[in-house]
């Protein structure tokens, strides 16, 4: 019996370090915009390349990309296969391929946080010269190029699927004359889309009526992966603080008085104006709070807003929903946590295949292709398409999305981002949700541990 139990326990150990999944991210938008002109003729096909493979996560944008890529096959004769992998195992699949220096894919649409790891370890092809020569770097908004494509001053990906945190609100309540009057009487200014985070707080407070099961706001609190960090960093950035400065210094950059105020505000929103029971809330809980009529304003990634304007998924409020970008901080700083991905080329495939992959990216970056990309439902990062009236009028959330794409900002994207993320998730959850310690203590703890990690990794002495 003892021996059997020993074996059982040994098996358990193997299971303990076996794989577990990360959270998934679902459906995407349905943004239109008709192609204005014919896509440019694709360059001549490199010899011997008749098929290209793109890896992406399993969600609607990947289907849109496949549809778009079918046009490329018609024009160029090169078939492009978009291979989809569930979100939960996507990163593991890609890193396993990296570890094997595999050629299973020609291009991969990867998360912005992967850039540092992929670039420093040689998994992605350096696209700097290519993108500059072809002028692709000028076609997308600078912020998306910086965060979806750039690492250490070089380009490693072309911004493909833009995404960021935005806000949805109940237009019917905001436009109600009685509410407007009451709001002005209480706060001294007109009830409208908040211009800054302090107004956001006022509006959240105004609409919080627990006796009617109505609450002003719903914000990310989940600790599992990165949700609470993504939600809170909007406030940290917009109050003038940052995770680091150009020298990778954290102390005195992150743990400032202003940053502490931003976290105090975030906690106040959570404790006072948010529907109860959302202590571990991410995108699904945000949409649920809105659709159920509990929350007047919610934050979420733009990719999840289509469900709010859909009569089937949001039967009570689909025609009463408005959207706005993350408001600026009290000092005027305005940033929004970014999601989304860029497309990169596998460094381990043959030069011919690399050239074929670059040709595809060049075609994909063209305005007609980007227009069709947006029309299919992809979130384009193309400046001209984003600024076009067609795009802005296509859905209620597109104007806010187009605006947000100019000031997206990311968490760390160096190879050690996982280490850094665990610390911020823990400390932010501890202060904001658990209510343990002060905002300054939470920031001090993060700054101290981040500094240790950066020192160990050689970024700081």
């Amino acid at each position: 019996m003892t021996r059997k139990l020993g074996l059982l326990s040994l098996g358990l150990a193997a299971a303990l370090i076996a794989g577990c999944a990360a959270p998934a991210a679902p459906a995407a938008p349905a943004a239109p915009a008709a192609p204005a002109e014919q896509a440019p003729a694709a360059p001549a096909a490199p010899a011997g390349v008749s098929e290209l493979t793109i890896w992406w996560a399993e969600w609607d944008p990947a289907n849109y990309l496949q549809e778009l890529a079918n046009d490329y096959a018609k024009e160029k004769g090169i078939k492009v296969n978009v291979v989809q992998e569930p979100w939960g195992t996507y990163y593991n699949k890609v890193t396993a391929e990296w570890a094997a220096k595999g050629t299973g894919y020609d291009m991969v649409v990867g998360d912005s946080q992967w850039l540092g790891q992929a670039a420093t370890q040689g998994h992605y092809l350096d696209l700097t010269d290519f993108m500059k020569e072809k002028g692709l770097d000028k076609t997308v908004t600078p912020a998306t190029l910086l965060y979806y494509g750039t690492y250490d001053g070089k380009y490693w990906a072309f911004p493909t699927e833009g995404d960021a945190l935005g806000w949805a609100y109940r237009k019917d309540l905001f436009e109600d004359p009685a509410e407007k009057e009451a709001f002005k009487a209480k706060y001294g200014y007109d009830l409208d889309v908040p211009k800054d985070l302090l107004q956001l707080r006022d509006i959240a407070e105004f609409f919080t009526r627990p006796d009617k099961n109505l609450y002003g706001i719903a914000i990310y609190t989940q600790k599992d992966y990165d949700a609470i960090t993504m939600g809170a960093q909007n406030f940290i950035f917009n109050f003038g603080a940052d995770w680091k400065n150009d020298k990778f210094e954290v102390e005195g950059v992150l743990n400032t008085e202003d940053a502490a105020k931003s976290l105090e505000l975030y906690r106040e929103l959570y404790t006072k104006f948010m529907p109860p029971g959302l202590s571990n809330a991410f995108f699904q809980e945000m949409n649920d709070a809105f659709i159920s009529g509990q929350a007047v304003m919610i934050t979420n990634y733009f990719a999840f807003f289509p469900a709010l304007v859909n009569a089937q998924t949001n039967p009570n409020f689909y025609d009463k929903v408005g959207f706005f970008s993350t408001p600026a901080g009290p000092g005027g700083a305005q940033f929004a946590s970014l999601g989304g991905q860029g497309i990169s080329v596998n460094a381990y495939i043959s030069p011919e295949r690399q050239q074929a992959a670059k040709d595809f990216i060049e075609w994909f970056a063209s305005k007609p292709a980007q227009e069709k990309w947006a029309a299919l439902g992809g979130y384009t990062c193309n400046i001209e398409v984003l600024n076009s009236d067609t795009f802005k009028k296509a859905t209620p959330y597109n104007p806010a999305f187009a605006e947000t794409m100019n000031f997206v900002k990311d968490f760390w994207n160096i190879p050690e981002f996982g280490d850094l993320l665990v610390v911020s998730q823990r400390e932010l959850s501890k202060y904001i949700v658990e209510g343990k310690g002060t905002a300054k203590e939470a920031l001090d703890n993060i700054a101290r541990e981040h500094t240790e990690i950066l020192k160990k990794a050689g970024y700081l002495k």
Binding site: Q121, S279, V433
Partner: protein, 306 residues
């Protein structure tokens, strides 16, 4: 003559595969799979636990650092905090499961109408996915519309506690779900033990005018004890590696309130990708699980020896 020889030769060819060889043929696939999927990873992870290695840095081979990973982990107060939390969770949860499970088994031992149906209904939780259970218990615990607060006396929405959002209650919330889910397992084993007790023991006790309490202590409990201990053993091992339920309910939060050691191990292995360090942590957990299991096995052997 030639035909006769051929007839004799055929069975000889068949016999060339001996019984032992046939056994080996049948067992080999299992052994090969076991070695590939269990034994090799087990020893390879043991090796990795003495190295500095990250699986996402394939160009950097594992660097031998001796006992540094173990030293670092064992001197990290946060790890001990997570172990203590896990210990509290395991002891409370398994104890409650044993009490509830045994109580249910005692109840279902009696023959009454609908006994089979009730037994089946009680067993439903163990057939469900922990992730699904986590998701719907999140709704049950919701202070605005969840039924849990209503059942314990908070009839007005939002007047009751936020079980998953308050650090002092979050661990209890997970324990309650674990007890709800796994008490039927304990019940099932105890029920089989109870049904195996021969009636003549109770008849003899009744003739001796033994009280029901005496019968319980002297007949029922000793007879069921081996199976109860096995149930407790399995549940202890399982509770030690509780992961999916916590991720579904609280994600380890708020703060560190439900950061059980398996959840922390997951973060080390698959968020931070510190493969060497997480292998060391897995081995520390393994040693503790084996030590606890041994205590149970000794108790079991003692009971059987009586």
């Amino acid at each position: 003559m030639q035909l006769t020889q051929a007839r004799i030769a055929r069975p000889q060819r068949r016999r060339s595969l001996t019984d032992v060889q046939i056994q080996v043929l049948f067992i080999a696939p299992t052994i090969i799979l076991l070695v590939l999927w269990n034994i090799f990873p087990l020893f390879y992870s043991l090796y990795l636990s003495f190295t500095e290695f990250s699986v996402i840095k394939p160009d950097v081979p594992p660097a031998w650092i001796g006992l540094q990973n173990y030293n670092k982990l064992l001197n990290d107060p946060r790890i001990w905090q997570y172990f203590a939390l896990t210990g509290r969770y395991v002891v409370t949860s398994v104890a409650l499961q044993a009490i509830v499970g045994f109580g249910l088994a005692m109840f279902l031992r009696e023959r009454f109408k609908g006994n089979g149906l009730i037994t089946t209904l009680i067993l439903i939780p163990i057939m469900m996915s922990p992730v699904v259970i986590g998701l719907f218990w999140k709704l049950i615990y919701n202070p605005a519309f969840g039924i849990f607060n209503y059942l314990i006396g908070y009839s007005v929405p939002n007047s009751g506690p936020d079980w998953l959002g308050e650090a002092s209650r979050a661990l209890w919330a997970v324990i309650i779900v674990d007890v709800w889910m796994w008490s039927p397992f304990v019940m099932l084993l105890c029920l089989s033990g109870l049904k195996a007790i021969p009636d003549y023991l109770y008849e003899a006790a009744a003739i001796d005018r033994a009280s029901p309490w005496f019968q319980f202590w002297r007949i029922t409990l000793p007879q069921v004890a081996p199976l109860l201990l096995i149930a407790i053993l399995f549940r202890t091992i399982e509770a030690f590696k509780t992961f999916d339920l916590v991720m579904g309910l609280t994600g380890g939060g708020p703060g560190d309130a439900t950061e059980l050691i398996a959840v922390h191990l997951y973060r080390a292995a698959f968020t931070r990708f510190t493969t060497g360090e997480s292998s060391a942590l897995a081995y520390i957990i393994l040693v503790i699980v084996i030590a606890v299991s041994n205590l149970y096995v000794r108790s079991l052997n003692r009971i059987r020896g009586e």
